[in-house]
């Protein structure tokens, strides 16, 4: 066997030139598309690509997963499957009236890559590149100039967007999609005021699904946990531990991690990484990551449910990290951003008292001026625990 050629690695361009991406998508050779900033060493990526078998060296593309687990992983997708998914999403998301899509997330993020770049390419829609919330003025200008536009966001962006836009409304946005974390159900009225002509959707998936699994129009449910129905071509079930498992016609074809490259068989049920359940109406509900659902003094605690209560009384950002109390029992700390007034903390505590048993209460309520974010807009869970710059507002004395 001869030496396999080195596969090309594209780095997302801060000048937002998409020429190289288009060229490689049109080409035969498998390529990797990586964020400009990533904690994953480039030589690790090069080694991972070297491990791809010959069958995966054409017709595929490789993306890094978020890295929030701390363990780098590459998902190898099939171009053909991704194109079919983009076409299915066009129908399922009722995107025909959409003329353009405004990009606020890194395109090397699977969600933006398929939902926006690939969809725009296939449907002949305009792709409006922005630097997201890092350049608010430019993003506001894009929103003001929007014409039948689609936005793809992640939940933690919403308080920042609201803070940036104030009372301004953007009638040119007609679709807003959320993915990549908790759906901001409590902010829907505010989002409807800001985007009066937009339909809002909760999308659910994971990088291994490349990336979509389910879809719910905001009006089709009332809980953040409700991720709606599987899109055509996707099957869901729960495993023995309550984890969401999926099969999908569009899923990635292989995973590459420190153990090497592992092709994903067609009939394999793949864990999405969340715990969930199906309700009587066929809608699926995400109960949280396995780390977000745990037992405390024998009682099951789902952090997302507690955050839903918190967000009824808090318009800023909220996040959490796991910790233990002095007795060694599992718990979590609630982190608010920016620093809340004390009366707000008090109203949050009153709501926790009214709606949750003590076992559900956070061990502490902390705040920060800014939440540490990963390049894809998700909260950096590892950095959240750092003591620097944290204020303590309340704690359980246990």
């Amino acid at each position: 066997m001869g030496v396999l050629p080195v596969l090309p690695v594209l780095i997302e361009d801060s000048t937002m030139s998409l020429h190289g991406l288009e060229e490689h998508w049109n080409g035969e050779e498998t390529f990797a598309y990586l964020p400009e900033k990533s904690p994953v060493p480039r030589d690790w990526v090069a080694g991972a690509l070297e491990s791809l078998p010959e069958a995966l060296r054409t017709g595929c593309f490789c993306l890094l997963t978020s890295g929030s687990t701390g363990s780098p992983r590459i998902v190898v997708g099939s171009k053909g499957r991704a194109e079919r998914l983009a076409a299915v999403l066009h129908q399922a998301q009722q995107s025909e009236p959409v003329a353009e899509t405004i990009v606020t997330l890194p395109l090397s993020y699977c969600y933006a890559f398929v939902n926006q770049w690939l969809w725009a390419r296939m449907s002949g829609r305009r792709l409006v590149m922005t630097h997201g919330l890092s350049r608010p003025d430019a993003l506001l200008a894009s929103l003001r100039g929007a014409g039948d536009a689609m936005l793809c966001l992640v939940g933690p962006q919403v308080p920042l967007l609201i803070g940036m836009a104030g009372e301004e409304a953007f009638p040119g946005v007609v679709r807003i999609h959320f993915a990549g974390g908790r759906f901001p159900q409590e902010r829907i009225p505010r989002l409807r005021a800001m985007f009066p002509n937009a339909r809002i959707f909760n999308n659910y998936g994971c990088a291994e699904a490349m990336p979509r699994l389910t879809l719910r129009p905001a009006e089709a449910g009332g809980e953040a946990s409700d991720i709606g129905l599987p899109i055509p071509g996707v099957q869901l079930k729960t495993g023995e531990a309550g984890e969401i498992l999926f099969r999908s016609e569009y899923r990635g074809v292989a995973l590459v991690d420190s153990e090497g490259c592992r092709p994903i068989p067609d009939d394999e049920w793949i864990a999405s990484g969340d715990l969930g359940r199906e309700d009587a109406g066929g809608h699926w509900h995400v109960l949280g990551r396995p780390g977000e659902v745990f037992k405390r003094y024998g009682e099951k605690v789902a952090i997302p449910q507690v955050l839903a209560t918190v967000n009824q009384h808090w318009t800023g950002q909220s996040s959490s990290y796991r910790d233990r109390d002095s007795a060694g029992e599992d718990g979590f700390a609630l982190v608010l951003c920016p620093v809340p007034p004390e009366e707000t903390v008090r109203s949050i505590l009153q709501a926790l008292r009214a709606l949750h048993p003590r076992t559900h209460w956070p061990l502490r309520i902390e705040s920060r001026d800014a939440l540490p974010l990963l390049p894809n807009g998700k909260v950096d869970g590892g950095a959240l625990k750092d003591l620097d710059g944290k204020l303590l507002h309340w704690r359980q004395r246990i």
């Binding site: 926790l352 003590r358 359980q396 004395r397």
Partner: protein, 82 residues
Amino acid sequence: MTNLEKLKDLVIDVFLIDPAEFRLDLRRDQVDTWDSLGVVSLAVGVQETFGYHFTQEEALSVQSVNDVIAILSRHGIGFDAA
């Protein structure tokens, strides 16, 4: 801050009651959050605030704010208003 004011703040904080709910004769059975974990939290809070560690028997015997005051008073911690 008097010891009574400190105890009031502690009880409000541990049981998440409204300040207006606080009374010296407030009883455990009147506060839904005064559960078993609340008992432990109150005991820890008393130690942190007053430097006295309830025995297990004392912690379990507390049925009201007045009981806390009585125990602490027996150990030389004064509550002038009590």
